[in-house]
């Protein structure tokens, strides 16, 4: 073999900048919006549709809208949205018929809740263990006393007066907090080796998942009193809460079960071989992995539950949507339903979007450094 035919590169080729058409704004536009004739046409069509929809929407919601004034006469000169309706009714949308001089109790409860939840959810704030302890044991008692009253000189506020966004939050937070542990227990029960436990879990889950939430709530408010002995009467809100919690627990159980099935058998075996008991295996090895896998499903259930709380209106509890709906039927504000529902929709969206973003952050955080083989 002669050296004359072999070519050997002796110096390293320098790195060159990528061509201008693949990076920067131009590159982005090219690859994402105008990569082919079809995509170019679709991009232009999309822009046209936006031009059709957005300006009138902005005009209605912002430019021609009314925000000053105290009643509907203020809105009459303007063709746009009458946000005065929302402004006037705002506190009722938040607190329902909770006595206005007592609403500080709702606010305080909410602040105490945020104070407990922030350390649990946000990594930078220390004291997670204490916060969790406080949330699980101290806060429920404090919240109950503050909301219901009747002790320590706080006037009693009947649950029939509760309403608006505060009621939505009470129902959904209690539903969420109760459904996760219950759902986990049901999921474990369904995968248990004990036949009776397994059968009970299956029956529970299938029975609750098989009926609409509306009928659960309806049964809770109308049918249940028929079966109870004379004089025994549960609070209507309490009945709805139990219904919502058990209903979402059944859904949660199936979500968690999906996660449990995704944990490889080897993990159970390794834990068993080390002598870990059933509960330690579940608590330390299996559930942390299973729950991480199903975070999207869990948050999905939470979001569904949050929005399903609007159904309590069917049994005469007025959550945010119920209050808005009632307000639109008020003779003084007839014809304001668009503003009302847009407002209610926006509030629900903010909460649900917040949950969704948090779940994405949580997934990223837990996924860091744990590449799966």
């Amino acid at each position: 073999m002669s050296d004359a035919t072999a070519t050997v590169r002796t110096e390293r080729h320098p790195d060159l900048p990528p061509p201008a058409t693949t990076v920067g704004v131009l590159g982005w536009l090219r690859t994402n919006l105008f990569s082919s004739w079809l995509n170019t046409a679709l991009t232009l069509l999309g822009l046209y549709l936006l031009w059709l929809i957005v300006p009138p929407l902005l005009d209605w919601a912002v430019f021609s809208a009314t925000i000053t004034g105290e009643d509907r006469t203020a809105c009459e000169p303007n063709p746009g949205a009458c946000w005065v309706f929302i402004k006037v009714q705002f506190w009722q949308f938040i607190y329902g018929f909770y006595p206005p001089d007592q609403t500080w109790r709702v606010n305080l409860t909410f602040l105490l809740f945020v104070a407990g939840v922030a350390p649990v959810l946000i990594e930078r704030i220390p004291g997670k263990k204490w916060a969790l302890f406080y949330l699980l044991f101290a806060f429920p008692v404090i919240a109950y006393v503050l909301f219901v009253g009747g002790v320590f000189g706080l006037p009693l506020v009947e649950t029939a007066l509760w309403g608006g966004l505060s009621l939505t939050l009470v129902v959904s937070i209690i539903g969420i907090v109760a459904s996760l542990p219950l759902g986990i227990l049901l999921a474990l029960g369904r995968r248990s080796k004990m036949p009776i436990l397994r059968m009970l879990s299956v029956v529970f889950i299938e029975a609750w998942r098989g009926v609409p939430l509306i009928s659960v709530l309806f049964m809770a408010s109308v049918m249940l009193p028929l079966f109870l002995p004379e004089g025994v009467n549960f609070d209507k809100l309490l009945r709805a809460l139990i219904g919502v919690a058990l209903f979402s627990a059944a859904y949660m159980a199936e979500v968690v079960r999906g996660g449990l099935q995704a944990v490889p058998r080897g993990q159970y075996e390794a834990a068993a071989a080390l002598g870990l008991s059933y509960w330690k295996t579940m608590g330390l090895i299996v559930l942390p992995q299973a729950l991480k896998i199903v975070i999207p499903g869990i948050v999905n259930t939470f979001i569904g539950l949050f929005k399903d709380t609007t159904l309590v209106a069917i049994i005469g509890l007025f959550d945010l949507l119920g209050r808005v709906h009632t307000a639109t039927t008020n003779a003084a504000w007839l014809g304001m339903s668009t503003e009302g529902y847009v407002f209610a929709g926006a509030v629900f969206w903010v909460f649900c979007f917040g949950m969704s973003r948090y779940s994405i952050r949580l997934e990223r955080k837990l996924g860091a450094g744990q590449r799966r083989r």
């Binding site: 993990q267 390794a270 068993a272 071989a273 080390l274 002598g275 870990l276």
Partner: protein
């Protein structure tokens, strides 16, 4: 060859006694009349074609599989349905799996300290010191704070061995520990196992690494069709196999 000539068990102290053990998967008779005594400090290599029941047999020793007939006595305790007895035996019997089975959500250090802290109730500082000692022994102390997914297969298997050792077991079971590894990583795991063997640990090892068997085993067991066909010291096992099935297996595994 010097090690291969060890014929007698290193002690008379029986740590595992399997008597007339049978196991079925549904209708399928997986293990047939297994009789085996393992002495303290003895190193046994179990080999045989796939599906011969060798993994199932050692998995019965720490009750990852349940046997339906016969007796298994480990350290004087018989394996029955009693959960407390099962847990007591599992504390004394370490196991290393083909697929490593490290806990992916925990760091290497947490993998090693979890069982000592939660099962043996060892204080954290002591558990971490023990873990570090075993990580040094398997030669990867610098990986302590990584997650298993960041390690190579060979490193993961060495962590798995260290994890078992942290429980200070009296017996170690190895279920094809090198079968899932790339060839260049097999040696680093076998080196650790040889070193462990030299420390006098009682070991039962299901493996196809015949060089390893020759070097460290006191006894080689050949299984086929759910039965123990033949057992002998490595020297005689490899040079004078008695049954035809053993001869066939050896010619297949050593032939290429």
């Amino acid at each position: 060859m010097a090690q291969a000539q060890v014929v007698k068990a290193p002690s008379d102290d029986v740590v595992i006694q399997i008597v007339g053990m049978h196991k079925w998967y549904g209708q399928f008779h997986v293990l047939k009349d297994i009789n085996l005594s393992v002495y303290r400090g003895e190193r046994i290599v179990v080999c045989g074609p796939s599906g011969s029941g060798k993994s199932t047999m050692i998995r019965c020793v720490n009750r990852l599989e349940e046997h339906q007939r016969g007796q298994i006595i480990v350290e004087g305790t018989e394996l029955t349905g009693d959960v407390r007895q099962i847990d007591a035996i599992r504390r004394e019997v370490g196991m290393v799996f083909q697929q490593f089975n490290l806990f992916p959500h925990l760091t290497v250090m947490q993998n090693l300290t979890l069982a000592p802290m939660w099962v043996r109730k060892m204080p954290r500082a002591e558990a971490e010191a023990t873990a570090m000692r075993y990580l040094e022994r398997v030669r990867i102390p610098e990986q302590a704070h990584k997650f298993p997914g960041q390690l190579s297969g060979g490193q993961q298997q060495r962590v798995a061995i260290a994890r078992s050792l942290c429980m200070n077991p009296k017996i170690m079971l190895f279920d094809e520990p090198t079968s899932a590894l790339d060839p260049e990583m097999i040696k680093e795991v076998l080196d650790v196992m040889v070193e462990l063997a030299e420390s006098g640990m009682t070991m039962i090892c299901v493996t196809h690494e015949m060089a390893f068997a020759r070097r460290v085993a006191h006894r080689v067991i050949f299984m086929d069709g759910g039965e123990i066909i033949e057992q002998n010291d490595p020297e005689n096992f490899f040079t004078h196999p008695k049954s035809d099935r053993t001869k066939l297996f050896l010619s297949q595994i050593l032939g290429h």
